[in-house]
Symmetry: C2
Subunit: 329 residues, 2 copies
Amino acid sequence: MTDPLPISFDDIAAAARRIEGVARRTPVMTSRTVDSLTGATVFFKCENFQRGGAFKFRGAYNFVASLAPEVRAKGVLAISSGNHAQGVALAAREFGIPATIIMPDDAPISKLNATIGYGAEVLHYPRMHEHPDDAAKRIKGTRDVTFIPAFDHPLIMAGQGTAALELLEEVGELDIFLAPTGGGGLLSGCATAVRAKCPGARIIGVEPEVANDWVLSLQRGERVLIEPPETIADGVRTRQPGVNNFAQVRAMVDEMLTVSEGEIRSAVRFLVQRMKLVVEPTGAVPVALLFSGRLGDIRGKRVGIVISGGNVDADVLCGILNESTTLDG
Amino acid sequence: MTDPLPISFDDIAAAARRIEGVARRTPVMTSRTVDSLTGATVFFKCENFQRGGAFKFRGAYNFVASLAPEVRAKGVLAISSGNHAQGVALAAREFGIPATIIMPDDAPISKLNATIGYGAEVLHYPRMHEHPDDAAKRIKGTRDVTFIPAFDHPLIMAGQGTAALELLEEVGELDIFLAPTGGGGLLSGCATAVRAKCPGARIIGVEPEVANDWVLSLQRGERVLIEPPETIADGVRTRQPGVNNFAQVRAMVDEMLTVSEGEIRSAVRFLVQRMKLVVEPTGAVPVALLFSGRLGDIRGKRVGIVISGGNVDADVLCGILNESTTLDG
């Protein structure tokens, strides 16, 4: 007998009802250039336009909205390299409750400032020296607040899955679905939505070569912990798949593929120059795979991609853009 | 007896039919941050996502599509600082006809490269030393091709007006409408659409303080020629309103307001950092006015703004972004 999976399609549908009118129904963009380069029809679900600048608000709001009012009122606590921090801070503000956010000491300034701007209290931990779970336990201590996991929770997974659900509602059937993968919150939720609506779709998670905890974990059949990865894609610097995410992804996802740091940078540049989209490196990870050729022959296929976020520091963005001279129309 | 105006609403409706399925129906974006800062409800018509990276494709395609086939087949010629060049090159490619584009010697590299990329032949003229009309006449010489004006023609004006028509179709009534103004192609067309659909709307053209040919012309009641302006907004470096545009704008537009170079740069930064939109300085001109306070009390008003384009060189964009440190979500 198999354990039931952490989430079902119904959980995503329920999350969609909770976030309706609060989260933004982000636009789906297309590009004749991309279609002509790939031979496919590619749909970009632009979560860089989501509130807080990334998909994370979906799961965070779904979680906070599901708390009992008297529990919620005491406040929430989260640990995050950035976008989850902003998502939780914003969700807390929507409910008028206090939020404490623990961030790594090398979090992007943009994400730090935005989190403070949403009214959260921010504390730091040493990312290269302490596992985030340990830091969260240490700092939470005896505080009577609710911890909101960044990815390893059914309510978070279901919330993130609403991004794919909206995409499918807008464009219909997909043959291939790609999402960037850190802890696996976005991928596990979205894969569940895509599998329910397009059973035959090829569903692929994408991570940086240097942050390949998912590839290793799926190979070994268990959650592998890697050293803190040095990737420009700060949203997928997680060291290990989540427990719930791993179970869900094993059941729903076809494969896990990786991209190089150079491919990620090129993809950011393409998105800015050609599609006029400000996308953070993590958001460009699946686009990097699209252009890598490693998807094989995708001519004639309908491809859905989640652009996960747009929160990038000016120095990082300009470092990438200045590798080329122009932002061609 | 008054001369009839160069265009009517019907011309815009006809242009809309011609460009349907060829030009992109660009998305309209909103921002809770903008609405909260201004007290208004602001709709951004994002022509930075238009084919060729700017609204110019609308007018260029409308013009080329209206030519007799045997005339069209001989090819087209245009003079432009950039976006009109790309619009004409792209429209010509759609019809499989040759395009020659005359660009100023200091045109942005991005626009130069893109124009060449669309298959056009590019020639240069000295912007600081020759009036564009003279350059166009000199270079056209006896070539048997059709000259496509950048703004001073009813078909161009009507084509550009489709941007406002789509905006109105999507969001309904507007109280205020803002567009950047160079030669007046975009403003004259859009104002005509807005005036027809929202007769009481306040319609405002916006130009840089240092490129105030429209303000001077409306004050004097005649088309004033200014020195070549040194504004970062390269799309509105025109030296004089067009003849047709001037007549149309005088009848349709309420006022002309200006913004400083610093205000334009701040607006670009805001659009990138907060709205995740890559916008060229010209596209940020009306957004700069929105934030200037010079619109007076706009609380509760529905404001439509055309973001005219997104073709900006990396060095210009990064020069602007690096005046601040972060791209806050």
